[in-house]
């Protein structure tokens, strides 16, 4: 569901840091692309394997993209400022 083609910033990454929020937790990243697992670990998740990182359209908003731990998140794109960590997995009985 992610759309990684809509660029909103074109500055080289050394010119600024990306400020993001995972829930209420603030993070800063110097690089433009970060592994979802690194974002979740920085937010305090010790075992990221069964979690999904969701990008939100606004603080506490709706999910507009999701990332597995091994996915790269491009922080230069639209809707890459607010995130939440959602349990992954599931099944049927």
């Amino acid at each position: 569901m992610s759309n990684e083609s809509v660029k909103t910033e074109t500055k080289p990454e050394h010119e600024h840091e990306h400020e993001i929020f995972v829930g209420d937790i603030r993070e800063e990243w110097r690089q433009n692309q970060v592994l979802a697992s690194e974002i979740m670990i920085k937010a305090g998740v010790s075992d990221v394997t069964s979690f999904i990182l969701e990008a939100l359209d606004k603080r506490n908003g709706k999910a507009v993209a999701e990332f597995k731990p091994t996915d790269l998140v491009d922080l230069t794109l639209k809707d890459r400022k607010f995130f939440r960590i959602t349990p992954g997995g599931g099944g049927f009985s």
């Binding site: 569901m1 069964s50 969701e54 959602t86 997995g89 599931g90 099944g91 009985s93």
Partner: protein
């Protein structure tokens, strides 16, 4: 419903849910070690479901939460994806709906925390109730 007899950690989870996500969430039934928790404002993905995109539903939470996992949701109307595909785990008019049938609950989706889709994370904290809500929304989005 009197929630004072619920386990302390579950009461704490409900307080967190109401304070931080859904202030109108309520417990509509307690049956067989499960609560039927009404979530009034669950987000349905606009590209996959027709309006309304905020709907109420019940999620079954164990009394032992957070040391046991949610199991199943109940809706008044069937989930109705725009493309018309059938949704796994759908059990219309299942007995599990009985505790909330008088409130309109009719459609049981027997979704488990872990299974074919993958393992769900261990729950250990009352705050994990917030993750349960986003899990429900994601399951609906991925259904």
């Amino acid at each position: 419903m009197d929630e004072s007899q619920l386990p302390a950690l579950l009461q704490e989870a409900l307080q967190i849910l109401r304070a931080e996500r859904m202030d109108k969430a309520r417990v509509d039934a307690i049956v067989d070690n499960w609560i039927y928790l009404w979530l009034p404002d669950v987000v349905f993905e606009e590209t996959k479901y027709p309006p309304p995109h905020n709907r109420g539903l019940w999620v079954r939470i164990p009394l032992q939460f957070p040391f046991a996992n949610p199991h199943g949701i109940i809706t008044a109307e069937p989930l109705n994806p725009i493309d018309g595909h059938s949704i796994k785990g759908h059990n219309p008019n299942h007995d599990i709906c009985a505790p909330v049938r008088n409130l309109g609950g009719n459609q049981y989706y027997s979704w488990t925390w872990s299974g074919e889709i993958g393992p769900g994370p261990s729950l250990r904290n009352p705050r994990d109730i917030l993750g349960v809500i986003s899990w429900v929304e994601r399951r609906i989005r991925q259904a």
